[in-house]
Structure formats: structure tokens, C-alpha cells
């Protein structure tokens, strides 16, 4: 086996040093009744070439192996990834390094993550950002826990029903065993979170709203900030499409206390949903409540600038049961990837790409309306929107996948049973006018 360097001679001479007469003897410290007598029942080892064949066969059993047109977002977005991003991130000094606990030989990761943190705060208009989380859903759950731990008056938090359905499930999973309650805020006919529903909810440790929301619509964050303040709860903003903030006013500008977002759009492949990138940002006030790692700038013994992991006193390995979270490994390499992506697109690129997303989505919406769809909602949106499909569309949609590799929207009924025949569409900069015209033609 090419990964195992031990020659026969190596093994013999090493066994001599350890005082064992065979490799088996090394395990004499394990009582015999605990040792397994069976072989591991998995297939025999494959050569690199057999592995290539097998994996390509599996990959080919996913439609993604073809050049499919994906008019779906819903938390996972198709954006162009510049060639330099995978090229740079694949450098083994980034990829095969451990968590940068030894700053002297980890300045690359540390400076890169410090720059990532900085760019995230600039994107979101927040004071601080962590070195990453698993995904938006878990980051949002952690945000909810922060709000709940802070506010001893109530065990309740309000979450918009237009927060991504999976994210609401995750929040529930995280909250339930500790005895916390999540209440959902209903949505309006405009496809927006119903602010009027919050009044009646009594004390709340926090209010969480996603914008653009699951329907793609842009929420009026300032109104929610006001009501969160009034209830003395934290105002938490989430999002699944980071690209939106190349164009939209930042959550920070509306006074968000905490922001939990998904950064997959920033140079990270969809990869069947993971690993993505959990973004977690807050106001300065929340610094010591945020879970996970921070990189900070400091100086070495020669007075030279450098970077270290800091504020570790919040972390699980120091505070153990008193830690705010148990997170240890985060999604560091994807944070670095997003950093490279943000540095690549830069100020000019992110705004232009974001604008193009909106342009394409607007064009697609108009085109589908002309093709017989009805508007689902009439609120401003970013790159996703809901339409009510004409009759017979579901069958047509299935046929289009098979015949043309076109994924025409996501059926919303699965998530919102009341929204029969409603579909969520998405258009990004990777979709061309021709693609949209073809879609509009095929759905007719």
C-alpha cells in the first residue's frame, strides 16, 4: 500500500525497540474478549485506477455530471468560480495544515482568516465576524442560543416562517433539549414576514428574520429591528445568498445584533449541499458571546505584526461545560476560499455580479409571466422569486429534466403545503439570456 511506508526491515527493527515479537503483540494490552476476531467486511482495496472508474461511475449517476441548467437556489447557488480560487486553495500548505494553534508556522492561515473576518464584516456591515461555522443553519441555531442565554426573562425566540425550512428545523433541534421554545412568525400575502404577528408573542429573547427570505423577497429589516428593540430581544438576521449583499443594504446598517449567513455562494462548489460555509457576525457587544474561533492581530517578541487565534477563553477546550458552544473544527478552508473569492471579485466585481443576478432574475420572471405563469408575490426580490405555475406544469417540469437537463424551479408545496402549484425560481450570473428564453419556450 503506497500510503504505508513500512518495509519488512523497518517493522522488524522497530518491533525490537518496542520489545514486541510481532505486530499482534502490540495489542496485548487489550483484553482478548474485547478484540475482534473478524476481518473488516468491506470490499478489497481498489487501485487508484479502479477507484477512478468507480467514482466516475457514481458521479455520472448524478445529473450534475452533465451540463444541466439549474434554475434552483433555495440555499445552494450556482455561481461562477474563477480558476484562481480552486488553484490557490488547493495549495497543500493551506489544505493539509491543522488548526493554527502554532502561530509561528501558521501565519498564512491566520492572516488569510483575519482578512476573511474583515471582509465579512465589510460585506455585512457588522463589527466582528468569526472564523466560520458549519453552515447558515447551525450558525443561526447558535445565534438563537446566544439570545436565549442572554435573556433570562424568557425561553422563547421568534423565527420567521420564511427562514429556510431546514434552518428552522436545525434551530428546533438545538433548542429543544435545553427547554427553549421557537415560535414561527407567519408570512403575509406579499411573501414577507408578518411583523404584526410578533406583537402578540410576548417576551422574546430574539427575533430572527431571513433576508432575502426563502421566497427570495427582501424584508424590511428596519421594522424588525424596532420591534426587537421594543421587546428587548436580539435582532438576528440570516441569509442563504451572500451574493445579495453585493447589492443590498447590509444587515448591519439596519442594526442587526447578530447575523448568521450562508457563504457557499462565495467561491464554494455546491457539492450536494456541503461543506458550505457558516458566516457568523455580530456587534462588538456580542464579541465574547459568539461561539467558535477568532483570529486577532498582535505583535511578536520582536514587535513585528502577526496573527493568533484569540479569545479562546470562550471555547470548549478551555471552558469545557461552561463554553457557549462545543464547536471545534469549523469550515476553515471554505472560509479561506471565500476570502480568496472576495479578494478576487473585489468591490467592483461583487456589486456588478450581484446586480447581474438581479437582472437575470427579473428577466426570467418577466419571461415566465409571459409564458403563462402568475406572480406568487409582488415584493422586491434579489435572485429568487415565486410564481404560480399553469396547470400541467409539474409533468412538463419532470419531462424537461429528463429531456433537456433543465431544472425549472422548486415545488414549494413540499415546504408550504398551502402553496399549491407555487414554484421557487432562481437565476444567477451563470444563466444566460438564451437559457432563460429556452426555459420560457419549453414551459409553454
Amino acid at each position: 500500500m503506497r500510503y504505508l511506508p513500512h518495509t519488512k526491515e523497518d517493522i522488524e527493527s522497530m518491533l525490537k525497540v518496542t520489545g514486541n515479537s510481532s505486530l499482534d503483540d502490540l495489542f496485548d494490552c487489550i483484553p482478548d474478549n474485547l478484540r475482534t476476531k473478524d476481518k473488516i467486511d468491506i470490499p478489497e482495496s481498489l487501485s487508484e485506477w479502479e477507484l477512478n472508474t468507480h467514482m466516475e461511475a457514481l458521479a455520472s449517476a448524478n445529473i450534475a455530471c452533465k451540463n444541466y441548467k439549474c434554475f434552483i437556489g433555495a440555499g445552494s447557488y450556482d455561481h461562477y468560480i474563477p480558476a484562481i480560487v480552486p488553484y490557490l486553495i488547493s495549495r497543500s500548505e493551506f489544505m493539509t495544515a491543522y488548526t493554527p494553534y502554532q502561530p509561528e508556522i501558521s501565519q498564512g492561515t491566520l492572516q488569510g482568516i483575519y482578512e476573511f473576518q474583515t471582509m465579512v464584516t465589510r460585506l455585512l456591515g457588522m463589527d466582528i465576524a468569526t472564523a466560520s461555522h458549519y453552515d447558515c443553519g447551525t450558525a443561526l441555531a447558535e445565534s438563537a442560543l446566544i439570545a436565549l442565554k442572554k435573556n433570562k426573562k424568557t425561553k422563547k425566540i421568534a423565527v420567521s416562517s420564511l427562514v429556510h425550512p431546514s434552518h428552522r428545523q436545525i434551530v428546533h433541534t438545538y433548542l429543544a433539549p435545553a427547554g427553549y421554545e421557537m415560535v414561527e412568525i407567519s408570512y403575509t400575502k406579499e411573501g414577507l414576514t408578518d411583523i404584526t404577528a410578533i406583537e402578540a408573542m410576548g417576551d422574546l429573547a430574539g427575533i430572527a428574520v431571513q433576508s432575502p427570505n426563502f421566497f427570495g423577497n427582501i424584508e424590511d429589516l428596519s421594522a424588525f429591528k424596532a420591534i426587537a428593540d421594543a421587546k428587548k430581544g436580539l435582532f438576528i438576521v440570516s441569509f442563504t445568498e451572500a451574493m445579495a449583499y453585493g447589492l443590498l443594504k447590509s444587515p448591519g446598517s439596519f442594526g442587526a445584533d447578530l447575523v448568521a449567513g450562508e457563504g457557499q455562494s462565495l467561491g464554494i462548489p455546491k457539492s450536494f449541499g456541503g461543506p458550505g460555509l457558516g458566516l457568523l457576525a455580530g456587534t462588538k457587544k456580542q464579541m465574547r458571546n459568539l461561539p467558535g474561533r477568532f483570529v486577532g492581530k498582535t505583535k511578536d517578541t520582536n514587535g513585528k505584526d502577526g496573527f493568533v487565534l484569540t479569545l479562546a477563553t470562550r471555547e470548549q477546550h478551555i471552558r469545557r461545560e461552561k463554553a457557549s458552544s462545543n464547536i471545534c473544527s469549523n469550515n476553515g478552508l471554505n472560509a479561506m476560499t471565500a476570502g480568496i473569492y472576495l479578494a478576487t471579485v473585489g468591490k467592483i466585481g461583487i456589486q456588478e455580479i450581484a446586480q447581474q443576478n438581479h437582472d437575470k432574475a427579473q428577466y426570467m420572471k418577466n419571461s415566465l409571466l409571459k409564458s403563462g405563469f402568475e406572480p406568487g408575490f409582488n415584493s422586491p426580490f434579489f435572485n429568487e422569486f415565486v410564481l404560480k405555475a399553469p396547470k400541467g406544469f409539474e409533468q412538463k417540469r419532470s419531462a424537461m429534466i429528463q429531456d433537456s437537463c433543465i431544472f425549472a424551479g422548486l415545488n414549494l408545496e413540499t415546504f408550504y403545503p398551502e402553496l399549491k402549484q407555487h414554484y421557487l425560481f432562481c437565476a444567477t450570473e451563470t444563466i444566460s439570456k438564451d437559457d432563460i428564453d429556452q426555459l420560457a419556450k419549453e414551459v409553454q
Binding site: 500500500m1 500510503y3 513500512h6 522497530m14 518496542t18 502490540l26 487489550i30 474478549n33 473488516i40 482495496s45 477512478n52 457514481l58 458521479a59 448524478n62 450534475a64 434552483i72 445552494s76 450556482d78 474563477p82 490557490l88 495549495r91 500548505e93 493551506f94 495544515a97 509561528e104 508556522i105 501565519q107 492561515t109 482578512e115 465576524a129 458549519y134 453552515d135 447558515c136 438545538y174 433539549p177 435545553a178 443594504k249 462548489p269 450536494f272 464579541m287 477568532f294 486577532g296 492581530k297 498582535t298 511578536d300 517578541t301 496573527f307 493568533v308 470548549q316 471552558r319 469545557r320 469549523n330 471554505n334 478576487t344 447581474q356 437582472d359 427579473q362 429534466i401 431544472f407 439570456k433
Partner: protein, 483 residues
């Protein structure tokens, strides 16, 4: 050489991305909704390439040299695994493309679950947790749900001092209070200690086996019986699986739930801190509580199952870190069952070889056969400070660790496990060759010599790295977290 921060290199008007051509009309959103462009840096493509190339040069990875980081299993990350994960059919797959059009991804996940089960002797598994600590959390959630389902929740959980650091934090997320117990004199857990605290208000015990001293918990079966007899469950931290593949099946020695670290045992890269992946395997009794969606096979096709009334719910937006799973799956297929057992065997051989070779040089608090890692400490060097010629210099584990950097090695894990003062914890892994290990041994010996003869060399180490020791106190007191 220094590399300025991104924004110090930025100049108005540069753009390193190829902007797509606009082929539809501009659609203008209401001004009340849109903001100024975020203040990201403005660079050319070459600027970006050079910046990150330079940064990478300041890093140390497994490809740079031996990384004997105890408790972290920094084995070689095979490059073919990267090739597999990058295939368009996987990397481009949308999570909502539908089961029918995602059979390859589902089959891979189903197989990987099966393989993990067979390696460990459990009955069912989930791949959803995004990292080891996330898997731990999932495991404790299942224990919590099990007790809830049985009608009476419990309030405590036992955590020995030789368990992993994340354990208590995971327990407390479920509202459990940790009951800490001490390991015995020889570094392993004694059944009596468990029996003394186990009661019917205790949900179970969290065991790391091999434990963080690198020792096998040989009383695990008796301990499990004690816990089970009071209705509790045994949680196994699988971070140290690399010692026992093909040797011990945790699912058959009394452990009820176990998490894996695909980025440790199964060779996926650590990426400077993640993404990892933390699957969890369970015995039959806990299967109903696994998170949703689950991957199931029916005839020759695969689908997601969400109709699981007792599930703990969802832990990840989609299905977990699929890209990491692909790498681990590729590794398992490349190794085969025999290869995995060989890997564990040779990992244990390497660790014992280091233990025997260095025990005259460093103090070995628990001198018994170790598994895949061994824990020394600085007792000898600390003693030396009084007898040596320069009594004012106190050489510590930290000093030795930092000095190793000058010898081209990543330092071992230090000051962990907490149960050993000044711990110096070495895990070589099986992918290191005898020559590289011998070089490491020589380096440690030579540092131990320097500790007596030229202690200043150690106190001011490292000397060859980009920066010297950092002021971590000021970093934490006056945090500067963005530029």
C-alpha cells in the same frame, strides 16, 4: 518577506474577476433597498495570486513535514481523494436536484454508512454531523431523546478526565451536568470509580477509547455493564479510532453510540481547521433517534427517509459535508479492510517506537504499552532547572515544542490532556516512515540536550519562523479582529 494586508494593496479601479457579459436589461431595485458596494479590496488577478501564494508559504502542512500532533491524527491526505471530490458530477450537484437525479451521491453516502458500521460493529449510522463536536452533540442528543422517549429525562452525564475536551461542552448543550471522574493510577478508568457515581439520574458516560493518554480503556466492558444496569448509555468518542480499526469493534464491547472524525481516521485534509465531518454510529436501540434525512436503499435505488417520528431532527441544512465524505469513502476503498487494519497496527507501532525511544529523554508518566499516541511531560526538564548550571532558566514543554519548529517539525500537542501536567503528546500516525520518525526522535533528544546546555536557545525559540512567539495576552485583552 512580509505580505501586506489585502486592503493595503488595493487600488481604486482594479478588479481580478472576469465579469460576465451582461445580456439582459439592467433591472434597478428601489434605492431604499440597495447600498454602496461593500468595501472589498480592489486587486488585479496577479495581485491575488501572489498574495495567497505568499501566505501559503508561511504555513506548515502535512505535506511540509511530520505533524506529530497528539489527538489530531495528521496522516497523509491522499491526492486522489481530491480528484474524486472535484468530479463535476459531485461538485456540481445541487442538493435539491431530486433523489432520482442524485443516485450517485446517495449510493456513495449509503455505502459509506455501511462501511463505517462494519468497521465498528454498530447497527446504523448518520453522516450528517459537520465535525467531530457536531457528531458528539448528535450523539448526546440521541441519548437525551432516548431517555425522553423512555419517559424520564436525566440530569447528569459522567465525563472522565481522560476524555476529549469537547465532551463536557456537548453535554451541557443538552442540559446535562458533567460529572467528572478521575482515571486510575495507571491512566485508565476503573469500574469502581464509575460505579461510585452512576445512578438513575445519570444519562450515561462519555468515554474516549483509546483515551487521551493513548491508553486502551481495558475495563470498558465492565464499565458499560455498570452504566447499562442503571439504564444509562455509553457514548464513545471515536477521535482515536485510528488505533483500533480491525482490532476492536466499539459496537461490540458495550458502547452504544460513537462519533467518527473523517478528517482524522479517514485521511481527509484538516484545511487549517476544517471542514471536517463527524458521522455517528449507534446500536439498534438508538436507531430511531438518528437525525433526518436518512439514506435508505430500496431494491437498487436510494432515497432519503424523513418519516422518523423519534428522530432528534435535523443538524445540517442539507445532508452534511458530502465533499468530505467523498474523500473518506475514497480512502476506505483505497485501503480495503486489510489496509485499514494495517494502518492502525502501524500507527500503534510508530507510537510505541517513539515512546520507547524517548522515554529516557522525557518523562513518561504512564509507562505502559500505548496505542497510537503517547504522552510525555517536562518533569525531567523542570527538575533540571534546579540542578543545572543555569538555575534561573525554567525549560518547559512549551519551550521544547517551539524549538521543534526550528528543527522542521510541527510541535506535538502540548498541555493536553489536562490529567498530565506539562503534557507533550505525540501521535506520529502510520504514514510516517521510520526515517522521519528517527529524525524526530533525534531532534527531541538534541533539544533535551540544549535544555541543559543552551537553555536560552529554547526560551527564545523559534528562530527560523516568520514570526517569533506572539503576544497572545494583548491579543485577547485588546482584541483586534478586523483590519
Amino acid at each position: 518577506f512580509n505580505e501586506p494586508l489585502l486592503w493595503d494593496k488595493s487600488r481604486e479601479g482594479r478588479c481580478a474577476v472576469s465579469l460576465p457579459k451582461q445580456d439582459v436589461e439592467r433591472a434597478v431595485l428601489d434605492k431604499s433597498l440597495t447600498g454602496d458596494a461593500p468595501e472589498l479590496p480592489q486587486l488585479s488577478e496577479l495581485d491575488v495570486v501572489r498574495h495567497y501564494t505568499r501566505l501559503s508559504q508561511w504555513n506548515f502542512g502535512v505535506d511540509s513535514g511530520m505533524y506529530p500532533l497528539g489527538s489530531c491524527t495528521m496522516k497523509y491526505n491522499p491526492k486522489t481523494n481530491e480528484v474524486q471530490a472535484a468530479r463535476q458530477g459531485f461538485a456540481g450537484a445541487h442538493p435539491f436536484a431530486g433523489e432520482e437525479f442524485s443516485q450517485g451521491a446517495l449510493e456513495m453516502m449509503y455505502n459509506l454508512e455501511q462501511y463505517l458500521i462494519r468497521i465498528t460493529g454498530f447497527d446504523a449510522a448518520t453522516l450528517q454531523p459537520a465535525a467531530g463536536a457536531h457528531g458528539e452533540f448528535a450523539g448526546i442528543l440521541m441519548i437525551h431523546a432516548y431517555h425522553a422517549k423512555n419517559g424520564k429525562q436525566r440530569s447528569k452525564i459522567i465525563v472522565p478526565d481522560t476524555a476529549h475536551g469537547t465532551n463536557p461542552a456537548s453535554a451541557s448543550l443538552c442540559g446535562y451536568k458533567s460529572v467528572n471522574i478521575k482515571s486510575g493510577k495507571d491512566g485508565i478508568l476503573e469500574p469502581e470509580a464509575v460505579a461510585a457515581v452512576m445512578d438513575e439520574d445519570t444519562a450515561g458516560i462519555m468515554v474516549t477509547n483509546p483515551n487521551t493518554l493513548g491508553l486502551f480503556e481495558s475495563n470498558i466492558k465492565e464499565i458499560a455493564e455498570i452504566v447499562h444496569s442503571k439504564g444509562g448509555l455509553v457514548y464513545g468518542d471515536g477521535a482515536n479510532m485510528n488505533a483500533i480499526m480491525g482490532i476492536v469493534k466499539p459496537g461490540q464491547i458495550g458502547i452504544d453510540v460513537l462519533h467518527f472524525n473523517l478528517h482524522k481516521t479517514f485521511s481527509t485534509p484538516h484545511g487549517g481547521g476544517g471542514p471536517g465531518s463527524g458521522p455517528v454510529a449507534v446500536v439498534k436501540a438508538l436507531e430511531p433517534f438518528l437525525p433526518i434525512p436518512r439514506v435508505v436503499k430500496e431494491l437498487d435505488s436510494y432515497r432519503f427517509e424523513t418519516n422518523c417520528p423519534d428522530t432528534i431532527g435535523r443538524l445540517h441544512t442539507f445532508y452534511g459535508h458530502v465533499g468530505v465524505m467523498i474523500r473518506a469513502y475514497s480512502y476506505i476503498l483505497s485501503m480495503g479492510g486489510k489496509g485499514l487494519k494495517d494502518a492502525s497496527t502501524l500507527a500503534v507501532l510508530n507510537a510505541n517506537y517513539i515512546k520507547e525511544s524517548l522515554k529516557g529523554t522525557l518523562n513518561l508518566p504512564y509507562d505502559r504499552p500505548c496505542m497510537h499516541e503517547c504522552v510525555f511531560n517536562d518533569e525531567k526538564q523542570q527538575e533540571n532547572q534546579y540542578s543545572g548550571s543555569i538555575p534561573q532558566v525554567h525549560i518547559t514543554t512549551m519551550d521544547m515544542a517551539k524549538r521543534l519548529l526550528d528543527y522542521g517539525f510541527h510541535p506535538p500537542t502540548v498541555y493536553f490532556p489536562l490529567v498530565v501536567e506539562g503534557a507533550f503528546m505525540v501521535e506520529p500516525t502510520e504514514t510516517e516512515s521510520k526515517e522521519d520518525i528517527d529524525q524526530f526522535i533525534d531532534a527531541v533528544k538534541s533539544i533535551a540536550k540544549e535544555a541543559v546546555e543552551e537553555p536560552e536557545q529554547l526560551k527564545t525559540a523559534p528562530h527560523l519562523s516568520k514570526v517569533t512567539r506572539m503576544d497572545e495576552v494583548t491579543a485577547a485583552r485588546k482584541p483586534c479582529l478586523k483590519g
